[in-house]
Amino acid sequence: MPRRNDIESILILGSGPIIIGQACEFDYSGTQAVRVLTQEGYRIVLINSNPATIMTDPEFADATYIEPITVETVEKIIEREKPDALLPTMGGQTALNTAVGLAERGILAAHGVEMIGASLPSIRMAEDRELFLAAMQRIGLDMPQGRFVRTLEEAKAAIREIGFPAIIRPSFTLGGTGGGIAYNHEEFLWKVASGLGLSPISQVLIEESILGWKEYELEVMRDRKDNVVIVCSIENFDPIGVHTGDSVTVAPAQTLTDKEYQNLRDASIRIMREIGVETGGSNVQFAVHPETGRTTVIEMNPRVSRSSALASKATGFPIAKIAAKLAVGYTLDEIANDITRVTPACFEPTIDYVVTKIPRWDFAKFPGADDTLGVQMKSVGEVMAIGRTFKESLQKALRSLEIGRHGLGADGKDAVDVTALDDAERAAFAQELRTKIATPRADRLFDLRLAMQAGIADDELHRITGIDPWFLAQVRDIVDFEAVLRGHTMPGA
C-alpha cells in the first residue's frame, strides 16, 4: 500500500531538553522524520521545547511550536492546527508518554487525530510490565521472573519463588533511587521495607537477578504487510547490570553462535507481531546466560531510540526516516535504500566492519556523585568508531572520546607503569585492580589493560567482570602487541 492520501497534516512530538538518557539522538530522528514527511507533501506541525535542535529551525516544519511538551500544551496546538495524525515515536519516552496522555484523556478522539507509527494498545503492552510479561508468555518467550508487592508479607512470598540474588526496584522513585540487589534474607527485608517507604505508591518490584548475563539489542522494523527486517544486532561489552547507555556496545553482535543469533531474530519478529508494531521500528533487548544459553527478553521500545540512532549510523540504514515512511502507509518493499538506490528497504543491511560505541561521562563536574555504573544511566554523551576489526574500532573510539587518552593506553598517560614494577609491587597492584574492576566504572577498559599487564589471566578477569572471553582476548591482543612495540625503536635510533 503506498502513501496514505487520507491524511494531510501530521503533528510530530519532539523530546524536549537534553537530559541524561534522552539526548540529541532524538533531534537526529525527528529531523529525519520532518524532512522526509515534508518531502512526501504532508503539512508538518512540530512541538519541541528545545531551541538548540535542528528540527525546530523555522525552515523545516510548516508550523513549529517551541513550547513545553505537556498534554495541556499539545492539546492547545491540536485545537489550533487540527492535524489529521500524531506521530509519537520520534521523541523518545517524553513523546510517547505525552501521546498516551492525549489518547487516554480522549483528546485525540475528540479532535479526530489518528495516532500513527504506533497504536495505543501496542504502546501500553510494551510499556506496562505485566501486560508485556503476559504477551511474552503467550508467545512462549522467557522473561526474568518478577512480582510487584505492596507489603513485606507479599515480598516474603515472592522471594520464595524467585530466590536469591534478587533485584528490588521501588516503583516511580526518581532516578530509580532505593533500588538494589539482595543476596540474603536480612538484606532483602531491609531493602524491601526501604523501597516501599520511598515509592510514592508503596510498591516494589522483586525481580530475578540476571546480573552478569550477556546483553543484546536488535533493531527491528515491521510494516503493515508483516514484512520484518532486522536492521542490526548490538552486543554489550559490559554484561547485564550496566545500563545500555553506559555500556560499551558493539555492532554487529560478536560472540553469538549463528543458532543463538537466529533465535534472537525469531524472537524479535514474534515480539513485533505480538505487540502489534506494524508501521515502525522497535528496539528489543535480550539477556543470554553465558553458560546455559537461556535467553530472556528484557524489554522492547516501540519507538526510535538511542540504539536505533547508533544502528542507523552503524549500518547506513536510516531507521527514523524509514519508520516515518512506514507510518504514512509505505511498506518496506516500496522504499528504496538511498545508499544503493537499487535495493529496497526490505534488504537487511550487511556490514563488513565492526562498530564500537563508548559512552562519555562527566563525573568530575559533580564532586561527590556516585561514579559507579549500574541500572541508572549516567553518561552524558558517546562516540562511535568504525574499523575493520573490533580492535581497530575500539582504539579509534577511545581516542575519539577526548578524555586525554589516545587509544587503549600505551600513550604515556598511565598513572602507573606496570612494566616498571617489580614482582611484589605488581602482585599488590593486581590485587588492587581485582577489587577495582569488580565494580563497573568509567575507566574500567583502561583498568582491564593494566590488569592484563599485571598478570591476571583472562579466565579470572571473566570471572570478576562477566565480560565475555572473546572480548577479553581482543583486548589482550592489543595489550600483547603493545609489548611487542615496546621491544622496538625507531629505525636509526
Binding site: P17, G316, Y353, K357, G381, G407, I478
Partner: protein, 599 residues
Amino acid sequence: MSNPITPEILRQAKRLGFSDIQLAATLGTTAARVRALRREWGIEPVFKTVDTCAAEFEAFTPYYYSTCETENESRPSDRKKVIILGGGPNRIGQGIEFDYCCVHGVFAVKEEGREAIMVNCNPETVSTDYDIADKLYFEPLTFEDVMRIVELEQPEGVIVSFGGQTPLKLAKDLAASGVPILGTPYEGIDLAEDRERFSALLTELGIRYPAAGNARTADEAARIAGGIGYPVLLRPSYVLGGRGMQIVYSEKTLRDFVGQALEISGEHPVLIDKFLEDAMEFDVDAVCDGTEVMIGGVLQHVEEAGIHSGDSTCVMPPTLQKESLIEELKETTRRLALALGTVGLINVQYALQNDIIYVLEANPRASRTVPFISKATGVPLAKIATKVMLGRTLRELGVSEPRISGYVAVKKAVFPFIKLVGSRQFLGPEMKSTGEVMGIADTYGEAMAKSQLGSGAKLPTAGTVFLSVSQRDKRQKTLGMAQSLIDAGFTIIATRGTSTYLYENGVETRSVLKVSEGRPDIVDEIKNGHVQLIINTPAGEVSRDDETPIGIEALAHNIPYITNISAGIALLEGIKQAQHDSGGVRSIQEYVGGRKETV
C-alpha cells in the same frame, strides 16, 4: 633487545588501531616522527564506504571510515570543498548547540556552491546523518585522523569554529601544517584565549574588565587575591564549560582550591579574577565580516553573576531598561570583534555592576547561545557566519540586526542532579547543565512560566512559597513581591532573617529553619511536599553552601527554583496569568515571520 621497527610491525600496529601518539609513546619518539616514517613507508589509512550491503551493490552515499588497508574508496571530486569539523562526544559544556552550528555550516557551504564535507564521531547527531553533508567521514577528531582527510580532499579550507573546543584545539596544529583555516585566523582565537594578551588588548581599547592576575603557586595566588580583594573567581586557563572554576571568599578556601586548579590545568597558570557580586550578566553574539559587525542578539542573564553562563536563565530582549547601556554593550562587541580580527561568529560576555560594563570574556567562534538567539529572532546566525567565512560581506548578504518586538524569549537550563546522586555542589561558575528549553510568549512572565514548565517543573497556582533573601534583597521590591504572593493566595514560609524583615514590614509569614540551623528544616518541608515554589537569593559563602541541598531537592520534586527577586516577580506575573487562563501558543514562524529559506 630493542630492534628497529619494520614496516610489517608498523602496519600491524595501525591495523590494531594504534594512533601515532601511542606509537610515539611506545617507541620513544614523537608523533611527528612516526607520521613521517609511516609516510616514507607508505603506511597510510584508506577510506571505505558504509554501504549497507558489504560492497555487493554500488553505493551512492558518500559515507566513509578509515582503516589501514590498501584500496581507497573515497574519490575526491574536482569541486571546491570545505571541511567542517564537528564537536565530538557531547559533554557538559559542549552539547547539541555545537552540532546545530555545524549543520548550519554545512547547509551554508552547500548554498555557496561548495562541496560540504563533515567530520565527526558522535552517532547521536544530525551532522553525522549522511543525508546532511555532501560527504561524511565518521572519524575521530584528532590531528592524525583529520590530516589524513585534509590530505586526500585538499579543501579550500577547514571550519574549526563551530564544533566547540574540540576542533579549536586542533586549529594550531592544522594551521602549522599549512591547512587553511576559514574564518577568524588562529591568531585571533589565541589572542582571545590568552588572558594576559587579551587583558592587554582590552586596556589598549579602553574597555573595562574585572581586576585579575595569574598565579602558579598558592602563595602567589593569595598575594594577588589580597590585592584584588575578595571574593575572587579562580579558574584554570584553556577550558570550556568552566571546569575547575570556583568563587572564593577567603584566603583559606583559596589555598585549598589553588592546589586542585593547578592539577587540572597542568602547566597553565591559575587565573584569579575579581568576582563582581551582585552584577548582572549579558551575552552578546555577533557576526563580523572583518569590516562590519552585525549584532545577533543581546541576552540578559536572570541570575546574578556567579552562575556559569550556560546554566543561567537568559532573557531576550533584555529587561534592563537603560537603552544607553545596551547600546554600549553592542558597541563594545563591535569594537572587540574588529580588534580580534573576527571573520564569522563572536560571543562576548559582560557583567554590569553599578552601571559600569566589564568584559568577562570574548570568544571569536560559535557559542552555545547561537541556536537560542537564532530561534528567538528567526535570523540564522551560523549560516550567515559561514557565508562570511567563505568571503561574502554582510552588506552583500543584505542582513541586518534583528529586532525582537512584541514577545519575549526565555532560555532555561536543565540539570542532571537527579541522576548523578550525591553531588556536593549545586550551581556555580562551573557548568552543570545538560540541556536547555525555551519559553516564548507575549510577556516576560508567561515566557518564564513556559520555561519552567518546559524544564519539567510544575507551575504552582496555589500553595506555599519558601522565601529566603539575602541582606541586599531586603528592600521594597521584595516586600512588594511577598505581598503579591499573599494576594495571589499563596502562603509564605521564610528563613528567620527574611521572616523577621517581612514581619517588621507588615507581611505575615511562618518561619522555617535553614539547613544549618537544626531540624525540621526547609529540606524536610520540601520532602514532605509542603513547598510549591522556592525563591532563594543567596549571597556569600555560607548561603551558597546551603543552596546545594535546597536546589537539588527542588529539582527532585519539580519545584520552580528562583534565585533572583526580579525573576521571582516575573514568574509571579506568569503564575497570576495562569490562575485565570492557561495561556496561548503560537508557532515560531508566527513569532519570527514565516519560513526563512535563505539569508
